[in-house]
Amino acid sequence: MDGLEEVSHRHDDSATLKEASRIAAGSPILELKGLQKNYGYVQALKPATVTFLAGEIHAIVGENGAGKSTLIKLLTGVITRTAGEILWCGHPVGLSTPNEAIARGINAVHQEVVLCPHLTVAANLFLGDEVNQFGLMRKKQMVTMAQAVLDDLGFGLPANALLSDLTIGQQQLVATARAAMRGTQFLIFDEPTAYLTRQESAQLFKLIRRLQNEGVTIVYISHRMEEVFELADRVSVLRDGTHVGTRLIGETNENELIALMINRSIEQIYHKEEIPIGETIVDVRGLSGPGFDDVTLSVKAGQIVGLYGLIGAGRSEFALGLYGREKTTAGEIHWMGKKVDIKNERTAMELGIALAPESRRDQGLCLNLPIGLNINLPVFKRLSSGPVINHTAETSNADKQIRDLSIKTPSRRVNASSMSGGNQQKIVIGKWLSHGARLFIFDEPTVGVDVGTKAEIYRLFAKLLKEGAGIILISSYLPEVYELADRLHVFRGGKLVASHDFHAASHEEVLGEAIGV
């Protein structure tokens, strides 16, 4: 106990912190009144009114793109609100910079650890807040103090280890300890357990409860229902940027929360049509490459082949290998019955493979270029006579995809960056619709996409299948692949470990195969 307290004492002279610690448990510490955020032409967070009580664990749930990350960024001063008011301990505050948020005692622990991997644990704990004497760092003293904190928390970590030598779970604990040391009054966890083992999660939960006992207000963001029910006192639900309700945890249940989150039943979203299965389009035999090993599968016309697994299980790597982006080291690819050598992306495209990659931002879009250019990028060759682009063909193809996919933009000349996640995903998909592909690889097509757009994307799958295409659907969201895939392959550690026909295995079985229990 002493380690943490001794260190956090250093912060007690801050006036705002004192104020925050005077707030009685159970009374409002942070109030949001009509808080709103617009990105370009898109409302990421519609006016939300939420109250956080001192000393509570307040869970926030919602689908990807529901506005959770926008809310965190607003509270931690990373972005500035468009409208609305934030009351901290009853007083309106700006929270317009990260430093202001930290000075008031508001901190966040992110899903991906934002610390310096090349520094030691101690250096990370004291980063930006080093113990100095005569302008020089007291390295030894910091290591001793850091070790006291770590021992006190029962982490069993050496303070002079390099951060990069720790597991992600341990790094997450260091990040939490760092926030705790800084005299945090209000700590936000953004899906902290996404990459943690069960044991690491348990250790983290212990720490969270301890912080709560010390009077810290916790905001816990997650899509894992069991964690919410295990930890939280209250839970707020966001849907498509709207705050749709807050419940006491004892007065709600999982079904109610899901209904609030998606506003419709599962059957309404995953509308699976009977489509006749045709000839084999691609037959992959023992394909190996960077990050995937000995993968054998085939895709037929009219068929959705689902690839399920945890992040880093090798599914996206396999897709990049099949698409010619990464060099394969072994195995064969047979396209429409003929053995082919896919040397690069262009060979894949010429065969008739389309890839809507995992990351819109890094792989899918040229964000600071117009929507029209993005849509036409794979097909400029077809839109040109000689080297010169046919202007009419260019504009009409872009406008057609914008219309067909109902991409919500005033013009094809608007930059892709000002679109919402759902509309950006439609652009990524729209790029390939006029290419005339036979095999579509969709890698996480519905991440960060609102429910309405999800349903549209699934309807589009059905349309492509009816036209004789085959689809490889990669998803980390089990219900999606489970309900849509005619054949479901499970990846773990770069290998294809199990295959099932539609609904032939239960959710639990598939999940177990993916985790490896």
Binding site: Y41, R239, E345, D362, P370, L373, P378, K408, D450
Partner: protein, 324 residues
């Protein structure tokens, strides 16, 4: 109906904004001309105007090549050195009795080779553009000095050296060279699919690659164009001063980059045009010319140029931020 993100207000169409920016740059250029015409006696004289066009033309061609590179989010620091080097090469070839047409062709070929080398360094060796072109900058000056043994090679071929001084239809031949380069450049950058690919590579190379763009080829192409344009400017400069000297065109790479940036090219890539750097080059040339006429200390000219770059790019940033 599902709750899809709400639309707020339609943004102004992109193209109009670009034209507006082009217009304000031309406006600035005309304003400078008007002021100089009013406040100096010698500005609006045929001699001075053709002088201005001659000086601006060479920067304009360099800036155009540079713009292709900057659009890919790269930079070419070697262009000034290439100008000096190309001047030495053509003077050397002419001295050796090579016919003018062949000498020009060979010199341009050196430009192609240098650009290819840059592409190789960036694509195959993975060197940052800044580094590889900085290395060429210093080595080319060195090679040029070795060839000339530190002195100059005189050009005695009168046909060649008269060209830069000649006029055609009352306009300096050097300015015609800008048009000769700018028209195909416009077709390339704004009308052909290669131009679109160039922007895509500068915006997100991985997205471009996955969309079937041969990213490496586009990078080679951009650096080859830049180096070849620079070699062409070297030929023009050699014709103008009738010598080949490896230390000529010192600092022109910065003039070219400045012209391009003043003309609205973004150093972060994916933003740029053909007309922008051309106008930018003539704005810079006008400032230097005007400062000379107004008897402004040449040291001050450098300071003014620096301030101008800050002001123009700052306003451009403001405009961009508002339009996002």
């Amino acid at each position: 109906m599902t709750a899809t993100p709400t639309e707020i207000a339609p943004p102004p169409p992109r193209r109009k904004v670009n034209i507006l920016f082009g217009l304000t740059l031309i406006g600035l250029l005309l304003f400078l001309w008007l002021m100089l015409a009013i406040f100096t006696i010698s500005f609006w004289t045929p001699l001075n105007i053709s002088n201005l066009l001659r000086q601006g033309s060479m920067t304009a061609i360099l800036a155009l090549g540079q713009t292709f590179v900057i659009i890919t989010a790269g930079i070419d620091l070697s262009v000034g050195a290439i100008v000096g080097f190309a001047g030495v090469i053509i003077a050397w070839l002419l001295q050796a009795g090579v016919p003018v047409w062949a000498a020009i062709l060979i010199t341009l070929l050196f430009g192609v080779l240098i650009g290819t080398f840059h592409g190789f360094g960036i694509v195959k060796m993975g060197l940052p553009p800044f580094i590889i072109t900085l290395a060429t900058l210093t080595s080319l000056r060195g090679i040029g000095l070795l060839i000339t043994n530190g002195s100059s090679i005189n050009i005695v071929n009168e046909d060649f050296s008269n060209f830069a001084r000649a006029d055609f239809l009352g306009i300096p031949s050097l300015f015609w060279m800008v048009i000769l380069v700018a028209v195909p450049s416009f077709v390339f950058l704004h009308l052909s699919r290669w131009g679109r690919y160039l922007f895509a590579v500068g915006s997100n190379a991985e997205a471009a690659r996955l969309s079937g763009v041969n990213v490496n080829r586009m990078i080679f192409l951009a650096y080859i164009l830049s180096a070849t344009f620079a070699a062409f400017v070297g030929v023009l400069l050699a014709s103008r001063i009738a010598i080949g000297n490896a230390t000529q065109a010192d600092g022109w790479e910065l003039q070219a980059i400045a012209s391009s940036v003043i003309g609205g090219t973004s150093l972060f890539g994916a933003v740029g045009s053909v007309h922008g750097p051309l106008i930018g080059a003539f704005i810079l040339a006008t400032i230097n010319n005007g400062a000379n006429l107004l008897n402004v200390n040449s040291f001050w000219q450098r300071i003014i140029t620096g301030l101008l770059i800050i002001v123009i790019v700052y306003f451009d940033q403001l405009r961009r931020r508002r339009s996002v």
